[in-house]
Point group: C2
Chain length 251, copies 2
DNA sequence: CAAACACTTCGGCGAAGATCGTAGTGTTTT
DNA sequence: AAAACACTACGATCTTCGCCGAAGTGTTTG
């Protein structure tokens, strides 16, 4: 089931200026008639009628007949959320988008997410552990295999503590990478281990993490991933990323 | 500044099947080349090149030159969020959307939002207070006028308590109505008053509120709004809604 | 019952834009 | 240096779709 064509269908619907004007006018939850919407969107009533029929058929608008006129409103808060998403992207010009990454390049590389690690590094670690069958990741849960238990034992990471009082292992969708990293007791243990062994350290009082030279070496040795941030030398899709992609396909 | 045309521009970009396929393929944070994206979206490389240029110019994609090939990825998490919004609306067929309201009709009418009221009723109350110049509502704050002070005094609502320790009055965007209702000490005082005087009562252990017959009468007398839920008799845009619209225009 | 109103359907016009073939630039490989 | 490769620019074709005039259905008002 490919999602591409489906979202194109909805987006194309919103992609017409007249229809977009109608939806914008309804964003605040108002209930408007076809004629009002025609005027607000700047088209003739006949044209508006066609547009409104399409929007209703697609389930974007809810329709209520009342006498000789028809009242329209957004079909659900989900539609409003979608429109908000479009507004945000539309208002931030092409310029802003870049700064978001530029300034946040360090954050994107490695950071904390509550009590565990996130960012490129964390996703690469999760990919590796899945690829090696040390961990089985599900949609909303995870499981440590026997091999994985041995692996962590060998590292000197104690996973037993606190395993009763909290979720042991679960995926957590990475904010910047949009792919899962490890949370739960396992994720927390990994971060603690990394901090204890000076693989990473907190930067100022931000959530960003600095990967130390020791960390770069040990991350490569332990997980086979490139721990250095993408500076001049190594920029773009690094080894850990392409490997990560293969792992994702297997999940 | 009309937002309609702007969101139409972005939506139209996503509205083409080929481009939508590209964006879908990048949803998981991967970094792909122009050729890969051309193949995935099912068009010739020349066509893909044009699409990718448009998406980059609009700030939806980030581009990285690397040797003789170009790597693309989503420009920011905001873009991913927008696409998610579209996916949700696209996957829930027209059928699902209705159920969301039908089941939640009571919630939509009146409910609690933390310690204050929300829903149609709460928005109508806020509109009325603004319309009467009892309260001045700003983007992110609110202010009680002298007239408003007298009004609440007359009702027997004591607004003085706890006014120091928390935000006194602020707007809170209503989940279902997508227009502000009152939060802060003022909002909390109104809910407490309504509960104390049996205008409304909690339903089971949900957040929904039931408007009692007393409440219907008193809401009409106090705020001039229709407090009864829209059953058979009174369905669709009731008096309180059209009045609310006028108030919004004045804010 | 007739007129006004709100809305829909139909049909032709016209513009926007998606597509790919051909030809070009810049980069890597042999 | 030549060939292969990744991508871009241009131009012609073609489909799609928004648009409004004219005419038609159902509802309310006088």
């Amino acid at each position: 089931m490919d999602t591409g064509p489906k979202i194109a269908q909805v987006a194309a619907l919103v992609g017409d200026p007249a229809r977009a004007n109608m939806l914008s006018a309804l964003m605040d939850g108002r209930t408007l008639t076809a004629t009002e919407l025609a005027y607000l969107s700047g088209v003739a009533p006949q044209t508006a009628s066609g547009h409104l029929a399409k929007l209703s058929d697609a389930g974007l608008l809810a329709l209520e007949r009342r006498g000789r006129r028809r009242y329209f409103r957004l079909a659900s808060p989900l539609v409003a959320r979608m429109l908000e998403g479009l507004m945000v992207v539309a208002q931030e010009g092409p310029a802003r988008q870049r700064n978001l990454w530029r300034g946040g390049e360090t954050l994107r590389h490695a950071r904390t997410c509550y009590d565990h690690m996130a960012g490129r590094i964390a996703v690469a670690i999760a990919d590796r552990l899945v690829q090696q069958s040390f961990i089985l990741l599900d949609e909303d849960g995870g499981q440590l295999t026997d091999a994985g238990q041995s692996f962590f034992d060998g590292l000197g990471v104690d996973l037993c503590l606190a395993s009763k009082r909290r979720v042991f292992c679960r995926p957590c969708l990475d904010w910047s990478e949009r792919r899962p990293h490890l949370a739960g007791a396992v994720g927390a243990a990994i971060l603690r281990h990394a901090l204890d062994h000076a693989w990473v350290e907190h930067i100022r009082d931000s959530r960003a993490l600095l990967v130390t030279p020791v960390g770069v070496r040990e991350l490569a040795a332990t997980f086979g991933i490139e721990g250095a941030p993408p500076t001049d030398a190594c920029k773009g899709p690094v080894a850990s990323l392409s490997r990560g992609r293969a792992a994702v396909n297997s999940v």
